[in-house]
Amino acid sequence: MDIPVDDALVERIASLAGIEVSSAEKDRLLEDIRTILAYFDRLRRLEVDGEEPPALEEVPGDGLREDDIRPSLPAADLASQAPDASGGFFRVPDILEGG
């Protein structure tokens, strides 16, 4: 697969990954991503059709958790590590309407 590794691609995956890439970093990252994807392309060389991906061992029903209530974190503890919290809420700048 010859993927054009260009600015547009980097912008697209930066948006998917929720990371703001500074213009200084962009060139560097472009280079790195090209190199790493070339390294990944070794995968293509191996024919592996039809193999099932590995699954973790199945657990029967009793590997699950009993429906018991456990104490939650005190609201103060939850808020103590937050950059901006008050009254049990976390505050963030306005989310664009639509959610």
Binding site: M1, P83, P93, L96
Partner: protein
Amino acid sequence: MDPIGWTAERIREGTATGDIDPVEVVERTLERIRSRNPRINAFLYTDEAGALRAAERVQERVRRGGPPGWLLGVPVAVKDNQCTAGTPTTAGSAMLDGYRPPYAAHVVERIQEEGGIIVGKTNLDEFGMGSSCEHSAFGPVRHPQDPERTPGGSSGGSAAAVADGMACLATGSDTGGSIRLPASLCGIVGLKPTYGRVSRHGLVAYASSMDQIGPLARGVRDAALMMNALAGRDPRDATSSSRPVPDYRADLERGVRGLRLGLMEESMGEGLDAEVERAVRGAAEALRDQGAEVVPCSLPHTAYAATAYYVTAMAEASSNLARYDGVRYGFRAPASSAAALVAGSRGRGFGLEVKRRVLLGAFVLSAGYADAYYRKAARIRTLVRRDFERAFATGLDALIGPTCPHRAIRLGERVDDPVRMYLEDVHTVSANLAGLPAVSVPAGKAGDGLPAGVQILGGPFEEGTILRIGRAVEKARGGARLLDGET
């Protein structure tokens, strides 16, 4: 001998009988840290008051005739990607600079329950992503034997601390070799348990299907002792195994007569430093001398394992690190919209290597590419597993090979070359893909320049077997590593 050179077994036994004063041991350890850490940068945080209090509690426990505990009085360092309640846990990242978790990791609770004394949190590659400890937001760790070199990563801080006597034992975490690699480069013992053997509750996740916490120690017996404390079922981790935990020291002195070992052929090929090859073949010889049968063994898909590992690990990492968004904890960049808050906080809070992996991870999972990359890697993973199953099915008790292709590299040598850096892991990743236990023990002639390890890999839950083989290698070298300058 200086208490900082004592083995964990000795400290534990002495403390239980009252011959050893845990407060003295801790004081000496803290002194060592104060004097050595500024140069080595193994520790990001030490809690002197807390450690002394813990030592006093151990004294009290002994006085009361309380339960003996596997780690009674032993100074332990904890890698800083494992949560300690109320004390800093940074995962080596600016994103979590100042973060104090409201809960402790399972392994931290276990260490404390068993009487271990946590002296501090060790430096690491950010979020466990790296093989040299040069990707920490808080400065690199330096190799105790040569400050111009790296100790390996990502558990480099823990390895350096143990190698240098700043802790008797340490925890590390291993996703693609991060315990075994620094153990090999620092000349100590590092074990990655079977996937599910040790609970991941409280481990800051990197790649969930491969991460495991394990011990770093100067000798095999101490590593086994620490495994006794760490292993076991934890209902807070759904992937944690219910299999009973044996005493991992039980068979250590049994020797290797009659065992059948496979020397991993594909790992002994090109790219291996001459000294490392010599060390590994030397270890194989030593095992033969002790009565083991060593035969060549092929794992045909070895060539693809590293690529499959990186695709899988990056994919899982991009997912596990999605939570770092500046909303509920961690670094927050000023922003005027929620979306900008997330992108800005992550852009500034993550280092370059983490950003590379998160971006690529998102890419290999994205629509149109997931089949060619992520799912293909998953299928190769199955093939790697099958290679091991077939090898063990031929009657092999364990496999041996190099841990790392070379010895400690210089700082700055590969840090800007990601793919070259990834090749550090080429011998260690298969065990993570297959979920098998693997240990690195020092090999080669003792005192012969920079250390190199030999890796021993076992079937599922065969930690006892690989430790037993490791013990035989260790004995052939004259025993467990002592601190430099000690006899």
